[in-house]
């Protein structure tokens, strides 16, 4: 058995990745905080989606002159 093999045997098994909501710095989110974060993330995603759709539709409405705006 080589030296490196012996060293590997002595290493503790790799720890599993932290569960959702737990960072490597030890912040543990409560169920309430996780729910609130998820709700906020969904709201941000929906808002961004609405913005994208809005820009798309306005581009269709205004046509090629979309950047020509009255002052």
């Amino acid at each position: 058995m080589t030296t490196s093999a012996i060293m590997n045997e002595n290493k503790p098994p790799p720890s599993p990745p932290p569960p959702a909501g737990e960072g490597t710095e030890g912040v543990r989110l409560t169920e309430q905080q996780l729910r609130a974060r998820r709700a906020r993330s969904i709201a941000i995603a929906v808002s961004l989606g609405v913005l994208v759709v809005l820009f798309y539709i306005v581009t269709l409405v205004k046509g090629p002159g979309v950047l020509v705006r009255p002052l």
């Binding site: 906020r40 913005l51 306005v58 409405v61 705006r69 009255p70 002052l71």
Partner: protein, 305 residues
Amino acid sequence: MSVTVSRVEPSIAGVGDYLELMKPRVMSLAVFTALVGLVIAPTHLHPVIAFTALICIAVGAGAAGALNMWYDADIDARMTRTAARPVPAGRVAPGEALAFGVTLAVGAVVVLGLLVNVVAAALLALSIGFYVLVYTMWLKRSTPQNIVIGGAAGALPPMIGWAAATGGVAIEPVLLFLIIFFWTPPHFWALSLFRSEDYARAGVPMLPVVAGEAATRRQILFYSLILAPLGAAPWFLGYAGAVYGIVAVATGAAIVALAFRLHAEQNGHVASKQMFAFSILYLFLLFAMLLVDRLSAELIGRLAA
């Protein structure tokens, strides 16, 4: 040597808390008055662009509300009416409210400028800036005239709506601006009459706290006497029809009568509560009638054609 690292507690703020930061009731009034400004404008805006303009105005008004709640959290915490707001209640951190408000304000102005026009965007920026910097940060804590001058911010939405439709400003939206501007003091002073203890506890120099109730009642009467003819002005200047004129004269007479009753009231706050409630109905009726007037004229025009 030990080093203490402070950690910010992860947020528990829900979507509802952020919506509350936007002051939905104030926002709905801004959107409604902006809609009227947009509809009575002589040019027709594509419905998608009109919708975009209203969304931006709503978000801009919400941003101003969020920034107001961020800055005024100390005052809000001391007042019964506002102590349960997200920042003083601890559900939203002050920094979160500030970031939320700034993001929405910049977003609303930029999108309005890009998708509608620059004049409307500039007026929206002026409205948000005036409300946050002039009213909230300066006037509110320093003078009993805070809501008189600060009322200009809340009076701008019809002008923004008009500017969104036309790309400019004219006498009609200025008239609507003046109606809301002169409506604001009787409306807020009526509220502050029966909430004066709250304002005194928070150290906000509202007129009843600084000058007393009698002076406030006199001021409400003074502004109501200016407001009533101003409310009817769109009719006698020819910008609105007879239906609007009848409603404006009748409700204007009612608000003056209420102001006289409030002026005569020595004790209690029955008349001030009535004045506060009626002032909301008054403004809603005036603007709803402008909307009805314009839409019915358009319908009659189409039927005749």
